[in-house]
Symmetry: C2
Subunit: 353 residues, 2 copies
């Protein structure tokens, strides 16, 4: 690892990079804020790690830098947002704010997005309603197909992730952020960059044998959550979430999904969905948050299996990383730092330093 980078420095560097390729100031600042936020929360594989890739796509013309993000369909508690091929972060920030606003009036809101792009980690958007005392749920169609249907060989599904954020009162929010595969492809990309082998059980060859070379992962089939034994459940989740975030929003799904790792130009028409639920619609919201605290504390206090030091809530390590990184900066692997230095040279912007 190289010296940690203060979040403010990383944010400025990221915004500089986007401005250098023509993104308007306000948008560059917003995307940089959200990407840095991902790193601060510990979603390394979905934060600034993606910057060189995003910049490459923008320079190739694959992202609309002057988008008109608009509401294409609307009901009291729903909306379909058309992202006009903008950066996904801008589309989903827009959609999530709309969902929060609607849920205040109707109790729940379900906002879909189409014509969007990769937007970083799922938890980034699920956390936004939670920050205002609401429950957040987010899911999307991933940006490359790495799954086959259960028992099949054709790559027709992505690792379609889902995230939930449930606010406590004194305890931090419970935040689950998971790909519907054993491992996310983002995590595999980090393994590849760091030259690490994947554990058996993440990816199989087309003949069913384990594939552990992370650099060759895209040639294999990612195992859906449940693995060889119960992977039909992860397959079912990936499919259903794809039908809801993709097909329902008239976004890409199945064979329509563009592999954005290999193709920098084609419009991805990425689909996402954000749901916000206002606990005040179900009774005293403070009472609910206290009940969440109680459950968290019960689980924390559970007897443990031999060798287990502590019981963790989903999102608990992220919460600790956020605290540590706000103080001492974001740790960065040597390959990531090198890729950002190279980018700075190409774009003629100040390096991270």
């Amino acid at each position: 690892m190289t010296a940690p980078v203060p979040a403010a420095r990383l944010r400025k560097f990221t915004a500089d990079a986007f401005r250098a390729v023509g993104m308007p100031d306000a948008d560059a600042a917003l995307v940089a804020e959200l990407m840095t936020e991902a790193d601060v929360w510990g979603s390394e594989s979905h934060g600034v790690f993606r910057l060189p890739h995003y910049i490459r796509r923008i320079r190739a013309g694959g992202v609309n830098l002057k988008p008109k993000i608009r509401v294409a369909e609307e009901r009291p508690a729903t909306a379909l947002v058309d992202g006009d091929n903008a950066m996904g972060h801008l589309v989903m920030r827009f959609a999530t704010r709309l969902a929060i606003e609607k849920a205040r009036g109707t109790g729940v809101a379900w906002v879909g997005a189409r014509m969007s792009n990769h937007a970083g980690p799922a938890s980034l958007y699920a956390r936004m309603p939670a920050a205002e005392g609401m429950v957040g749920m987010y899911f999307c169609v991933g940006n490359a197909n790495h799954l086959a249907p259960w028992g099949g060989l054709d790559m027709l599904l992505s690792t379609n992730p889902i995230a939930f954020a449930v606010p406590g009162l004194e305890e931090p929010a419970v935040v689950l952020d998971m790909a519907t595969t054993v491992s996310s492809f983002g995590k595999i990309k980090v393994y590849a960059q760091q030259g690490k082998a994947m554990p058996v059980g993440w990816v199989i060859e087309r003949d069913g044998r384990p594939l552990t070379d992370a650099k060759r992962a895209a040639e294999g089939i990612l195992l859906p959550l449940g693995g060889m034994e119960a992977g039909y459940k992860g397959y079912g989740l990936a499919l259903v979430l794809g039908l809801l975030a993709g097909s329902l929003n008239n976004a890409a799904m199945g064979s329509e999904v563009v592999n954005f790792t290999e193709d920098d130009v084609s419009v991805t028409n990425t689909g996402h969905t954000i749901v916000a639920v206002d606990p005040a619609a179900f009774g005293d919201p403070t009472g609910f948050r206290r009940r969440v605290d109680r459950v968290v504390r019960e689980l924390h206090a559970s007897d443990r299996m031999p060798g287990v030091e502590r019981i963790l809530m989903p999102g608990e390590r992220s919460h600790e990383k956020r605290k540590a990184r706000a103080e001492s900066g974001i740790p960065m692997s040597a390959p990531l730092r090198a890729s950002l230095d190279k980018l700075a040279g190409e774009l003629k912007i100040a390096a991270l330093g």
Copy 2:
């Protein structure tokens, strides 16, 4: 297996049983209809198989036979239903009809229920919106804690299932119904009744060794979806769904969950949630259903791994069972038939014959 029983016969038998213990006619008919429906769809472990248990609880006074099911909290797109300790089927039928009606106006509806009881298979309720062209999503807190937090030993979580139903146009709905454990406890109960051993990977002893004796499953810890390798994901799902169906609805969660297999009297305060989404709120609903068909057909047509005969959609086998069982009746294992014959004798009602 004994001779298959026509659905109409099973429905009448089930209604007779409920009437014999004092349930009003209309309620008995409705619960019998929904329980038989579960068997017709192939959810054997959550249908009439549960009748002796339900009857035992009713006779012990654990279920309110004259409930006032009412809306306790309401917003335009949400409601909290208080089930007044009624049979869960009655509560969830009420809640689901309310969700469908609300979603027609607001685009989406999220209806929670508290003070309910076991309601049969999750898919039963997710299918109701789908039958009217909507997307259905259902989840609940299970009726006994068989999970510990990841790395823990205290039984604080249930197998909290989730179901989705997504309607196609010409293709049958895609219906996923899954416990957040490797196996549902309902399936394990069927194994126990039939004297079958469980596969390794479903349940572990408290020291981590595999437990395969289905009759002893309640002494062990069910492995969350993902198993030994990625079970923290299934644990996260079970927890988050429990917080939403339990804590949000002010229903039982964590240590409050009553083990209804062992305790016939205590009020279970079971929590459920049903979500209905109207595709018409996102554009042309027929277009959406056509897109679902396209994805289903793409997956069906995928190349297959050696030895795999066909690619299945979630819910496809249920759809086939429904067709077959509507024609030739519901197959029944000898132990199940014997338990229903015994019940008929106890209640002095006509046996299945």
